[in-house]
């Protein structure tokens, strides 16, 4: 197979008339990486992918693959292959002829191209349906054929444009495994555009979160999930609560914060001037939740919240969603966005929260994570 190669985007920019779709992004993707471009629609992730593929002209900046600058080359000479969102299978050709299309363009004989195409179809377990036309296949099967067709060109990079969005949820999860398996087997780079943070976390070695044409954060899934750098990333990646407050004091390792409603927080961090606004994120599954009534009883028993869990927010429960392994409780409190608390099933049902009641969430100093402004 082809040698894998590093991909580098340098100040890559895409303009559509006056609008800036991609704004001078820099990104390095090591050979053999499963990279997910993640972001809401209109964030520039698809434009970025299409520029790498060569289906969109680059307005400014460079794309370097291995030791070659490739922006300027036609799509087929870039060592990239694209799998389209709609799969874009040729409706008049059978599966095997779809897969063999690029070999036909190169002028290979029918028997040789069918031999190669059959091998690729076997790789995606579609050898039995080689003679079917695309419309005779299910969505998942069409996707496998599209994959085989993209891979037959022996690309260094496979570009996938929302590959799983057309599938039903069950199949989507199964195809994730399939994609990951193929990527590991082939050892080439996959760049996968998605708006599903769940998909990105599940698949990627490198998650690139994009917003309004720029990269907000690029990192390993665990890093992105545990240490989102901006409020946008924290909200988009999900499972986080973002709170904002003003610095009222500092010590050696903590910031003392107070928000507009007089709530005080102590969170890990330094280097923020007094009086500045600070946003911080707390994971929904790191929060404790207590009934306000029970807490008062508990106070009567002499058990005050420990200093470590001194950060609290009181709010009204607005929804309770049972998720099987855990229960998601949402609260509204004055001056914050809706807060999410994720409780293990057992803990929740030991003392359930009802919609409309008041509850208090709390978290330890080191569970809050300061975000860039």
């Amino acid at each position: 197979m082809t040698l894998a190669a590093d991909l580098e985007l340098i100040k890559l920019t895409k303009r559509y008339g006056p609008t800036l779709a991609v704004h001078a992004i820099d990104l390095k993707v090591k050979a053999g990486t499963y990279c997910c471009l993640l972001g809401p629609s209109g964030c520039g992730k698809t434009s970025t992918l299409r520029m790498i593929a060569g289906h969109e002209a680059v307005s400014a900046g460079d794309i370097v693959l291995g030791d070659k600058q490739i922006d300027g080359l036609p799509p087929a000479r870039r060592k990239t292959a694209m799998m389209f969102q709609s799969y874009a299978l040729f409706p008049h050709l059978s599966c095997i002829d779809n897969v063999a299309f690029s070999l036909k363009m190169q002028g290979l004989s029918r028997s040789r191209r069918h031999e190669r195409a059959a091998a690729l179809l076997a790789l995606v377990h579609m050898e039995d349906l080689a003679d079917r036309l695309p419309h005779q296949l299910s969505g998942g099967q069409q996707q496998r054929v599209a994959l085989a067709r993209a891979l037959i060109t022996e690309p260094s990079i496979l570009l996938l444009d929302e590959p799983l969005s057309a599938l039903d949820p069950f199949l989507r999860v199964r195809m994730r495994d399939e994609l990951k398996r193929l990527q590991m087997e082939l050892g080439i780079t996959f760049i996968h555009v998605t708006h599903s943070q769940e998909e990105a976390l599940a698949l990627a070695d490198l998650i690139v979160v994009m917003r309004d044409g720029v990269i907000d954060q690029a990192g390993a899934p665990r890093d992105v999930y545990n240490r989102p750098t901006t409020p946008f990333v924290a909200r988009f990646i999900g499972g986080h609560n973002v709170l904002t407050a003003r610095v009222v004091g500092t010590d050696a390792r903590n910031l003392e914060l107070e928000d507009d409603n007089g709530r005080r927080f102590r969170v890990l961090g330094t280097d923020r001037p007094l009086g500045s606004l600070v946003s911080f994120a707390v994971r929904a599954d790191h929060l404790e939740l207590d009934h306000v009534r029970t807490l008062q009883v508990a106070v009567g028993d002499g058990a005050t919240p420990t200093d470590e869990r001194m950060n609290t927010v009181e709010g009204t429960v607005t929804s309770v969603q049972y998720q099987g392994s855990h229960v998601e409780v949402r609260l509204v409190a004055e001056g914050t966005e809706t807060l999410l608390v994720s409780l293990p099933e057992g803990r929740f049902f030991a003392a359930p929260f009802a919609v409309g009641t008041t509850a208090r969430l709390s978290f330890a100093t080191d569970e809050a994570h300061i975000l860039a402004a």
Binding site: G54, H55, A81, L89, K104, Q106, R149
Partner: protein
């Protein structure tokens, strides 16, 4: 009653077809076996000599050859023109309003009658027409070009002018159904512009090409007005032969000729349908 419903629903169209298509065509077939004399136009009979006359006359073969020549030339030119224009409309023009506007532009010639559009060529192409006068004035030619008007050239020009739209519409319709991602996918797979055309666009536009071809072939095979107006009475076509026979009140031979023409045209269309499955388009 429930079982009858679909038949009742189909009845109006069936009646229209029967009245305006089946009955007249059957009458023509019946009359083609009739006898005739100078003073007796229709003599009910069952004779074959009308057909014998058609098939034994040299004129018939020459006329058919001429008509087929017109048909083939017109088909080839309208196909190339129609395909190119449809391609431009479908793939080069990105904005839908502009697409609709350009498409309407193509239909402007249809806002006036066929015959008027044909006659309009006469002052343009005649011996003392615009083209000849201009070329003479520029000194490009010394004497007027004769073949501009009342020639095979003029007839084909007229056909192309009149019927290119019949090619554009179905091909444009087929092309609109081609997902632009397919063209990108083909390019991604290393196809050159020409290979995209031959491997993706043409195969997928085939139903439209077939339908447009059927329109053009059927119209040109049966035409006699264009040949009459732009051919200047010197040029033969099957339609014109039939018209001439009718003008001499020779109904049975005209009917026999018409039946043969119908047969030939049906065979040509069957051949086209064999090449392309047009049901996909319907």
């Amino acid at each position: 009653m429930r079982a009858l419903a679909p038949y009742l629903q189909a009845l109006p169209l069936a009646l229209v077809f029967a009245t305006f298509f089946l009955v007249p065509v059957s009458l023509v077939v019946v009359v083609s076996f009739f006898d005739y004399q100078t003073y007796q136009v229709l003599i009910p009979d069952f004779v074959f000599f009308n057909y014998v006359d058609v098939f034994t006359s040299n004129v018939t073969y020459r006329t058919y050859l001429n008509t087929l020549k017109f048909c083939l030339l017109t088909w080839a030119i309208t196909l190339i023109l129609g395909f190119t224009i449809a391609y431009f409309l479908a793939f080069e023009i990105r904005s839908v309003p502009l697409q609709i506007f350009c498409f309407l532009l193509c239909t402007i010639p249809f806002w006036t009658s066929n015959v008027i559009r044909m006659i309009a060529w006469i002052p343009f192409l005649g011996r003392n027409g615009l083209v000849n006068e201009t070329l003479l004035a520029w000194g490009v030619i010394d004497a007027p070009i004769d073949w501009l008007l009342y020639s095979d050239f003029t007839v084909v020009l007229g056909y192309v002018h009149l019927y290119t739209l019949f090619m554009i519409v179905p091909i444009f319709n087929s092309m609109l159904r081609i997902d632009p991602a397919l063209l990108e996918a083909a390019r991604d797979q290393g196809a050159s512009a020409f290979q995209v055309l031959t491997n993706v666009v043409i195969p997928l536009a085939k139903p439209g090409i077939a339908i447009g071809s059927i329109f053009v072939v059927a119209i040109v095979m049966g035409d006699f007005v264009t040949v009459n107006v732009l051919g200047g009475g010197q040029i033969a076509s099957v339609g014109k032969t039939i018209a001439t026979e009718l003008s001499y009140l020779q109904f049975p031979p005209a009917a026999a000729n018409a039946v043969v023409l119908l047969g030939v045209t049906i065979l040509m269309i069957l051949a086209l349908i064999r090449i392309v499955d047009i049901r996909k388009e319907l």
